[in-house]
Subunit: 382 residues, 2 copies
């Protein structure tokens, strides 16, 4: 195990105030160097005595459990300074010290829409969560939610059933499942997207962890859609956190006879966008994408760690659809029809992928024809 | 027949551009003097030749029909300058030259909420129109609508069934009914409120008259509530005209699966208030009441035409509930309980009446006890 990974686990397990641990996780020399520097540095960064004890002597059993979990395939730990961690998370007022990821870390880089709402929706609400999430999946956008019963589960399932990518942010350790009836769903999500937690393996569900989880749901998505929510609902917390983090928030209206529309109406009155169609929600991605692009471009222009044969940045190359699209493109522009024929993907899906790649400067579109951007750094290696 | 009434009928029947007829109807010496002044004055006010012919020689048959209609009990004609015409109507960009009123002209002075929407609502929409209108009626507010099928009819019927006051603005002459299935409803409205039209007796329904009718629905109400409306619906015209006239506009949200909620959602996006309860709609009356109060106070302070024994202004004295409340009040403050016992009205109804009278300066409230305002001009006559 890499010394930095060991150090990150120690930081996560130490608990206590987050600010000193953020500083140690993002320490210029790396977390291992930060821990090796010992109590004088820790104190200087504001770590209280109790936390210093935990940093000096981490619980061996919990450490062993976490190392064991991390040793399994598809299990990852992304520290606060890890280039694989989406920069949007680092910009949060209270970022995670590290994220445990079961599945594909590249899924966190997809433009994502959080679909949240009541744990006990009406049948119509559940159907709307499915219909909207299916449309997002087909547009190539990740569907993000909290793995809860009701709206959350409907959103994840619809994204999976339509061949899309979905990300679950959970409030337990990555080896646990809450509610336990969602164990199979959690495994499916890990297989086709990612299950994400800031809690170490072995952590059970505790009430205070759900609002904390909600801030990551908000922070990892560009748009938060509330499908159905009572007047006092955890989904409203997610929506408020999303608005505070500068993300777009939208809500579906409902009949005034439906108590589970009250929370949505409350949000709309407070300024959330009233949306009626998936297309309207997708249109709300634009401002967030524009904001996220510089970071994405920086990530794409960073040295490629996988070796010279990698022509797409790792976050995209890890996704078969993007790799397929990349292979289909030439240095000479080809029309959309040819791209569709070569890739076998839908026009809607390809459009959103091409748009993202175009905005990132990897692809050039001229008169409706697409080609690799000859000026893009990584394309010279192809 | 009063010469001014004859002159007003001539102005209404003349047709043609409204501006010269407005000027003649509001002529300082009265409409009869304006007509007697002849073509030089008419020309000076911009009347075209064709209209001058009509003014000089009104159609004798139509004039006779209108006079016959006006001769019947409960039939009134209020000219643009008539003090019985609510000032809010005069403030419209395109006020009526005169209004034919079947019923009680005082009903037009009540704070009114327009309840409008689809001619073919869902059962739930119809039920909401009824529920909200019943609550408005119980709060002592007039329910205003256009006598159309669907939402309009449901609103009128609910107000009547709950002992309230309702006003129908119709797009035909006051002796006609459209749709003809609403003949009995129209008679009930005239009996318990007022049926209002700017068209002379004998005028049949014509498409262009419905948008014109809608401007009067908007202009006569302080708040316009849209219950259910398709994306392109006449109710939206009413709502826009209401907003343009500075009135409050609100709409009920609905399921995104309900096509008849689209118009409401469109309005909410354009700035209409999203409302869920009748109380929220009633709360929107406040700004309009504050704006309307000076005019109401002027009207109240005007010389009382009914004779010295009238202690309430005619608009209020004509309403049995207000007269009863006035009689129940002393010059010494009495608690709300006593007012309820003396009047036999509900606390909610009395509260809204007392609030209106308090705001108009007729009644004083001190420490929750009410009395006639000793400083109010008309109260010295009691």
């Amino acid at each position: 195990m890499h010394p930095d990974t060991h150090a990150l686990l120690t930081l996560v397990l130490a608990g206590g105030p987050a600010a000193p641990r953020h500083a140690l996780a993002a320490y210029p020399g790396g977390p291992a160097a930060a821990l090796a520097a010992g109590p004088p540095l820790w104190r200087a960064l504001g770590s209280p005595v109790q936390q210093q004890h935990q940093l000096a002597q981490p619980d061996p059993q919990r450490l062993a459990d976490a190392r064991k979990w991390l040793a399994q395939p598809g299990h990852h730990l992304l520290g606060l300074a890890d280039p694989q961690l989406p920069p949007a998370l680092r910009e949060l007022p209270d970022p995670p010290v590290a994220l445990f990821v079961h599945g594909d870390p590249a899924a966190l880089w997809r433009p994502a829409i959080a679909v949240v709402g009541s744990r006990s929706p009406t049948p119509a609400g559940r159907a709307l969560a499915s219909r909207f999430s299916a449309a997002f999946a087909e547009a190539g956008v990740a569907v993000l939610s909290g793995l809860a019963s009701g709206i959350d589960a409907a959103a994840h399932v619809a994204a999976l059933d339509h061949g899309g990518c979905t990300v679950a942010v959970i409030a337990t350790g990555p080896d646990r499942c809450y509610p336990d009836t969602h164990e199979r769903l959690q495994a499916r999500i890990a297989h086709h997207g990612a299950v994400v937690s800031e809690y170490p393996p072995g952590t059970a569900a505790r009430p205070g962890q759900f609002p904390a989880r909600n801030r990551l749901v908000a922070g990892l998505s560009l748009v938060t859609l509330v499908v159905e929510a009572a007047y006092r609902s955890g989904a409203l917390i997610t929506a408020r956190l999303a608005a505070e983090a500068g993300r777009e928030v939208c809500a579906l209206p409902g009949s005034v006879n439906n108590p589970r529309a009250r929370g949505c109406h409350r949000l709309i009155r407070e300024g959330a966008a009233l949306v009626e169609t998936p297309q309207e929600v997708l249109a709300l991605l634009a401002p967030g994408l524009a904001h996220a692009l510089p970071a994405l471009q920086n990530a794409l222009q960073a040295p490629i760690q996988g070796g010279p044969e990698v022509t797409l940045p790792p976050a995209l190359a890890a996704e078969p659809d993007y790799q397929c699209l990349w292979n289909a493109l030439d240095h000479d522009p080809i029309p959309m029809d040819s791209v569709i024929t070569r890739c076998g993907l839908t026009a809607a899906r390809l459009s959103s992928m091409l748009l993202a790649m175009e905005l990132a400067g990897i692809v050039v579109c001229e008169h409706g024809r697409y080609c690799r951007n000859p000026g893009f750094p990584t394309s010279t290696a192809s």
